[in-house]
């Protein structure tokens, strides 16, 4: 995918270079069309393709943990304890392994991707311009919403046939009862104790 985009960019560069060296060629009608393609259509397509590639890349697990403060969060996915919710989901492929962070932390609302990008830019600002936060002190603004869990679990037989889930379903949907902080599934990324926890090592 990136290779195709780079080929398109190189083609666009070659065309633009022609008009940089000899702009007078555009006097001919045929070259006017080529100039329109080379200086307007292709570059616009390159912007769209680049944006799409960068957005898809930013959904990858390895992209998220490429930030220093996120490294312990990446390690916490390997905690060898099924009571750790992110580790359990990651190790049992309940979320796509290469999109593990995004699957649970994406805002699935209509403006979600835009909000996520703005949050990402804010974190880049904190990392490179302001003071990077201590990994253990990082908290999700507004708390972790049940909607993230229900995006996958709602409608799943194993979830809805569970007596506790069935009894609490309405309050879970309305966020009155939190999946994480109401005492049911309260172990997420236990960064503070990570050094004491046993980590799972997948077979090579």
């Amino acid at each position: 995918m990136i290779a195709v985009l780079i080929c398109q960019i190189v083609l666009s560069i070659v065309l633009a270079a022609v008009f940089l060296i000899r702009p007078s060629v555009t006097h001919a009608v045929g070259w006017k069309i080529v100039a329109f393609i080379g200086l307007c259509v292709l570059p616009a397509l390159c912007i769209a393709g680049g944006m799409n590639t960068h957005i898809q890349r930013s959904e990858q697990t390895r992209f998220c943990i490429s930030c220093h403060v996120m490294v312990p969060y990446g390690q916490s996915l390997y905690v060898d304890d099924p009571s750790h919710i992110p580790a359990q989901h990651f190790q049992n492929h309940r979320v796509p392994v290469d999109m593990a962070c995004y699957s649970c932390h994406a805002d699935y609302g209509i403006y979600g991707p835009l909000k996520d990008k703005l949050q990402g830019l804010k974190r880049i600002y904190l990392q490179y311009v302001s003071t990077p936060p201590d990994p253990a002190s990082i908290r999700i603004a507004g708390g972790f919403k049940n909607a993230q869990c229900l995006h996958c679990h709602l409608g799943a037989r194993s979830f809805e046939e569970n007596a506790v889930h069935a009894a609490l379903l309405d309050s879970l949907k309305t966020e009155q009862t939190s999946c994480l902080t109401s005492g049911c599934h309260d172990t997420a990324h236990d960064i503070a104790n990570l050094s004491h926890l046993k980590l799972w090592r997948p077979a090579p």
């Binding site: 990136i2 985009l5 780079i6 960019i9 190189v10 666009s12 560069i13 633009a16 270079a17 008009f19 940089l20 702009p23 007078s24 555009t26 006097h27 100039a35 200086l39 307007c40 570059p43 616009a44 390159c46 912007i47 680049g50 944006m51 590639t53 960068h54 890349r57 930013s58 390895r62 992209f63 490429s66 930030c67 990402g120 830019l121 974190r123 880049i124 990392q127 490179y128």
Partner: protein, 72 residues
């Protein structure tokens, strides 16, 4: 100075230069797997390419084509 006084050739050169620099930066951002690569793409590469496109479109709108006598 009005845009129409600059000349279509010069505007095309400026547009081409901006587009080429922007596209080269886009290639760098695509090959560099780092959170800053998105910033490089969104704030530099895409801006330069967009500016190059705008300069090209301005050359179409505001600059009169050279007369047949002046053609090379």
């Amino acid at each position: 100075m009005k845009i129409s006084e600059i000349g279509i050739g010069r505007l095309l050169r400026i547009s081409s230069f901006l587009v080429i620099v922007g596209l080269l930066l886009e290639i760098v951002s695509l090959l560099w797997f780092h959170p800053l690569s998105f910033v490089l793409f969104a704030f530099l590469a895409a801006s330069l390419i967009g500016l190059g496109i705008l300069v090209y479109l301005a050359s179409l709108l505001f600059v009169a084509p050279p007369s047949a006598v002046n053609r090379e």
